[in-house]
């Protein structure tokens, strides 16, 4: 079986703070990580490899430093890695991004394309399904369980209240949520092999995509403006004994007719 896992290197947004004076985001020194949902996708691919045999290829579209994320994926057990990088991709919205990734996936033989549900920086959850459309394959999102069967996959898709059990042919695109599994750590022996492996580097030329489908030009959506969220008007801060604090709070609730 051949599995392609799409990962994204993202800033660890749980570590991002706001500059209290300028009101802007402090991005310096924020560590880069593999997007958490993508880790679940990669882990599931590796489990399928462990249990049923599979070749796991990890791909990412990003700037040159995204190579580190690929090395980490290799150190977890992925077999091969491809970095898709080109200045022409800059400014891409989800549609343009999904076109590039789909074009890359098309160069492989594959049974499953695995992606994370959403990235913690963009938070759109759009790239996976849009890729599936470009590839013309079915998609199942919010995947919380995967079972490999003789004639396809049995997949549990999470719903707001409960889940749906589905059967699908391959090839198929799946997007993973954190409930799917507990990702493994990198292994020491794989870490020492990871930097010996060759990571293929593909640019726009390799993907044969017309330039007006790429980057800003190829993006139907654009950012008109971006504003740091205004913090709510200052509230009251009280530092009293528990009894007094409770009294103050309950009085406020009375005022607001909540009690």
């Amino acid at each position: 079986m051949n599995i392609i896992v799409c990962i994204k290197q993202v800033p660890d947004t749980t570590e991002v703070k706001i500059d209290p004076v300028k009101g802007t985001l402090i991005r310096n020194g924020v560590p880069s990580i593999i997007n958490p949902d993508d880790m679940n996708a990669l882990e599931e691919a590796l489990r399928i490899k462990d249990n049923h045999g599979a070749k796991v290829t990890v791909i990412t579209m990003g700037p040159p430093q995204a190579e580190n994320a690929l090395r980490e994926a290799l150190a977890m057990g992925a077999d091969e890695a491809v970095l898709i990088t080109d200045r022409a991709f800059a400014g891409a919205d989800t549609l343009a991004t999904s076109r590039v990734l789909a074009a890359a996936v098309k160069k492989f033989e594959y049974d499953i394309v695995f992606a994370g549900r959403q990235a913690i920086d963009g938070d759109t959850a759009q790239v996976g399904p849009e890729m599936a459309e470009h590839l013309g394959i079915p998609q199942i999102t919010y995947v919380q369980k995967v079972e490999v069967e003789n004639d396809g996959l049995k997949v549990e898709k999470a719903l707001e209240k409960g889940y749906m059990v589905m059967k699908t042919d391959t090839p198929v695109l799946l997007t993973a949520i954190k409930e799917l599994n507990e990702p493994r750590y990198m292994s020491a022996n794989l870490i020492f092999e990871a930097f010996n492996k060759e990571i293929q580097i593909w640019d726009a030329g390799k993907l044969s995509l017309s330039s007006d489908l790429l980057g800003l030009k190829g993006s139907p959506t654009q950012v008109r403006k971006s504003v740091t969220k205004e913090l709510k008007g200052k509230g009251e801060v009280i530092d009293m004994s528990p009894k007094e604090s409770a009294e103050y709070a309950v009085n406020k609730l009375k005022e607001k007719l909540i009690v």
């Binding site: 750590y185 022996n189 020492f192």
Partner: protein, 379 residues
């Protein structure tokens, strides 16, 4: 002179740190209380290839470098000194000993499963009457046909009650004194070999520290390690390497205590402000940080010397001597910074304080390290 880490070393450090935070730290206080050997985590460490980091893949190791292994001991020790020494004793004292002195058969039979973490290793030199004076070995090994018969006892053996493979030192020819000591590989469960008392200790409490008893214990001659009479040299050389592991453990303990102290100082408020704003506190933390960095310098230098094939006995001695001293000082100061809270079990610094002391004692007391250093300076 390059003070940077390679990409592999950065990655190992990152991996072990995450492992330490998620798997080891949550159990550290509990196992200190129950003295229960952290089997689950040792098994996980084996699964992730951490039990044989610096050995070639041909022998089941991870194929890594020596510094990567030391970084792993350091990162683990920051959150749990017990886990740090389990790894260090296993890797440096047992695996390392067989790697340097074993023949191919012994390496295939023992080193491979040890490096994979399928078996846990231990090193048995110390006896009731042979501590710092290790030459006074009273355990004897008498050749009988194609076997050796071992009689005697060992004490304070790290991983003693939990290990599967032991490097045991015994006297094969008393007339030759130090040159009459021989090293053997003994398997757990061998008839005549039993584990005696398991010590209850001040610190590293979940590390198994045990007495080993040999009563007409017969082992095959294939298990002789090195050659007859070469045992003492093997022991001293192996301890040189082990010393660096302990120095890394001490360094890790000190770093862990320093991190906890810095965090606490920023949170704890007295007189309307965090105590971190007090200059006295700031000076204290500055001294602590500088000493930790000095210790780190000595530890990594010793690593560099060993990894690059230089004689490193003095560097290892300096590193252990100083790092242990620093661990003692930093952990004592850490409790001071935490004040009353630091004295309670609610916070980890009292455990770190108790854990630190052993680093001045085992694998050569601080006094032994000074003997080694003085001998080197005055030669």
């Amino acid at each position: 002179m390059d003070f940077g880490l390679t990409r592999e070393q950065e990655m190992i450090k990152k991996m072990v740190r995450e492992f330490a935070q998620n798997e080891v730290k949550p159990l550290a206080a509990e196992i200190d209380e129950t003295e229960e050997f952290p089997w689950e985590n040792v098994k996980k460490m084996a699964r992730y290839g951490l039990m044989g980091i610096p050995f070639p893949t041909k022998y089941g190791g991870a194929g890594g470098d020596y510094l990567s292994y030391i970084l792993a001991v350091e990162e683990l020790s920051k959150v749990c000194a017990t886990t740090g020494v389990i790894l260090s004793a296993h890797t440096s004292l047992c695996c390392g000993c067989i790697y340097e002195n074993g023949n191919e058969d012994q390496k295939m039979k023992y080193l491979v499963p040890l490096n994979k973490g399928e078996l846990v290793g231990a090193f048995a030199l110390t006896e009731p009457n042979a501590g710092t004076d290790a030459s006074g070995q009273q355990t004897v090994a008498v050749k009988d046909g194609d076997e050796y018969i071992l009689n005697g006892s060992k004490i304070f053996i790290t991983n003693g009650a939990t290990a599967d493979v032991f490097i045991v030192f015994a006297m094969t020819d008393r007339s030759k004194g130090v040159r009459g000591i021989t090293a053997f590989i003994v398997e757990k469960g061998t008839k005549g070999f039993s584990v005696g008392k398991v010590e209850e200790k001040l610190g590293i409490r979940a590390s198994s520290t045990a007495e080993l008893i040999f009563e007409d214990c017969r082992i095959p001659e294939e298990n002789l390690l090195g050659a007859e009479g070469k045992g003492f040299g093997i022991a001293m050389k192996t301890l040189d390497g082990g010393r660096i592991g302990i120095a890394a453990q001490a360094l890790g303990i000190a770093e862990g205590a320093l991190e906890e102290s810095a965090r606490y100082m920023k949170e704890r408020k007295q007189f309307g402000k965090p105590i971190a704003r007090n200059q006295g506190m700031q000076w204290m933390i500055a001294d602590m940080d500088t000493k930790v960095e000095a210790a780190r310098g000595l530890v990594y230098k010793a690593v560099w010397m060993k990894a690059n094939g230089y004689r490193y006995s003095m560097d290892a001695a300096r590193a252990k001597l100083y790092a242990a001293e620093v661990a003692m000082e930093i952990t004592t100061k850490a409790i001071q910074i935490f004040g009353g809270y630091g004295y309670t079990k609610e916070y980890p610094v009292e455990r770190m304080f108790r854990d630190a002391k052993i680093t001045e004692i085992y694998e050569g007391t601080s006094q032994v390290q000074k003997m080694v250093i003085a001998a080197g300076v005055l030669s």
